[in-house]
């Protein structure tokens, strides 16, 4: 299935495009998207988003306006748009 990944906040600034499309098997979790992202992303973007080949715990994965557990399987459907929101702060 094809999942569109939208980058928000700092990830958007570090990514070459605000969206990429990643292909994963049926039933894949958000964590399973990471290898597909790794192939396209810069080292700085990966530092923000990825740890131990999984989505970093401080990155919020948003599907249909809900934060989801990146390890949950069977949430993603073909054609979904998933947003990844790294931390932002005040100042």
């Amino acid at each position: 299935m094809k999942i569109t990944v939208q980058f928000l906040g700092q990830a958007r600034q570090l990514a070459e495009s605000d969206r990429v499309t990643v292909e994963v098997p049926e039933g894949a979790s958000v964590d399973a998207l990471v290898p597909g992202l790794t192939a396209e992303a810069s080292e700085r973007l990966l530092t923000v988003l990825v740890e131990d080949q999984k989505l970093r715990r401080s990155v919020i994965a948003i599907l249909n306006d809900e934060a989801i557990d990146p390890s949950d399987q069977d949430l993603l459907q073909d054609g979904d748009e998933l947003s990844l929101l790294p931390p932002m702060s005040g100042g």
Binding site: R56, I60, E66, M88, G90
Partner: protein
């Protein structure tokens, strides 16, 4: 806390808002808010709370005004460059509302002052750029069972949530670690931080006055590029190191 004739005249237009009314205005007058860092977020936020008639502000911010503050820190001025930020905040807020009580603390939040700062407030607004400060303030609010409005921004985006300890996710549920590579200085336009600041002020006014629907267990995500606002459902983390043992209405024992 009863309103004076002068206060009824000054707040007349907002008392006409049915949900607020005279009783909500009285509750604002009786309230104390802590704003930590009074910069691009905390400055316009404190200004809106002062204009709305909150009774007391505790403001915590260290350092002197720099040229790069002036695009967004609207309580600072050119004449204040090189001088104390917090002094300017206090003076300008009292110009706006001389009935306001201001406790100006020329320090940022740290382990040594967090508990005392939080204990004096009915509500806390977290406007700091460093995650160490934000997570410390969150921990203290959870320990003392105080509501925390957390606001943040980056470039043309902002976000906001209202944390009620034991009921909603806390900041450590969202960010269980200090994000790697986060820099204190980051891109932002002042109008973006002021937008998020005023939304945060509205959350606080609603919470203190007791009306409206709050951003509890919701993260408001704002993108000024497309002028879109999304409300994201967020969840408590079962393994949260700060709030996972907390049930509604039961402050934790201090463990430090």
């Amino acid at each position: 806390m009863e309103l004076t004739g002068e206060e009824r005249a000054i707040y007349e237009w907002q008392i006409w808002v049915d949900e607020l009314g005279p009783s909500g205005q009285e509750r604002l007058k009786a309230s104390t808010a802590l704003v930590t860092r009074v910069g691009g977020l905390g400055g316009p936020l404190a200004q809106s709370l002062a204009a709305a008639g909150i009774g007391k502000l505790i403001l915590a911010h260290a350092g002197n005004t720099k040229p790069s503050d002036l695009n967004r820190q609207i309580l600072q001025t050119h004449g204040q460059l090189g001088k104390s930020r917090i002094e300017s905040c206090q003076r300008r807020l009292l110009d706006l509302n001389p009935r306001l009580e201001v406790e100006a603390v020329p320090e940022n939040v740290h382990e040594g002052n967090a508990a005392e700062l939080v204990s004096g407030a009915d509500i806390v607004f977290d406007c700091a750029p460093l995650f160490e400060e934000r997570l410390l303030l969150n921990r203290e609010c959870v320990h003392q069972n105080k509501p925390l409005i957390d606001a943040a921004m980056f470039e043309l985006e902002g976000q906001l949530t209202t944390i009620i300890p034991g009921q909603t996710p806390c900041l450590a549920c969202l960010y269980p670690e200090i994000p790697p590579g986060w820099k204190r200085e980051f891109p932002v336009i002042g109008a973006v931080s002021a937008t998020v600041a005023n939304l945060a002020a509205l959350e606080g006014i609603k919470l203190l006055a007791g009306f409206g629907e709050l951003l509890t267990s919701k993260l408001l995500v704002y993108d000024a590029r497309s002028m879109t606002f999304r409300k994201i459902a967020i969840h408590r983390r079962v393994d949260c190191a700060v709030c996972s043992t907390l049930t509604p209405g039961t402050p934790t024992e201090k463990d430090d």
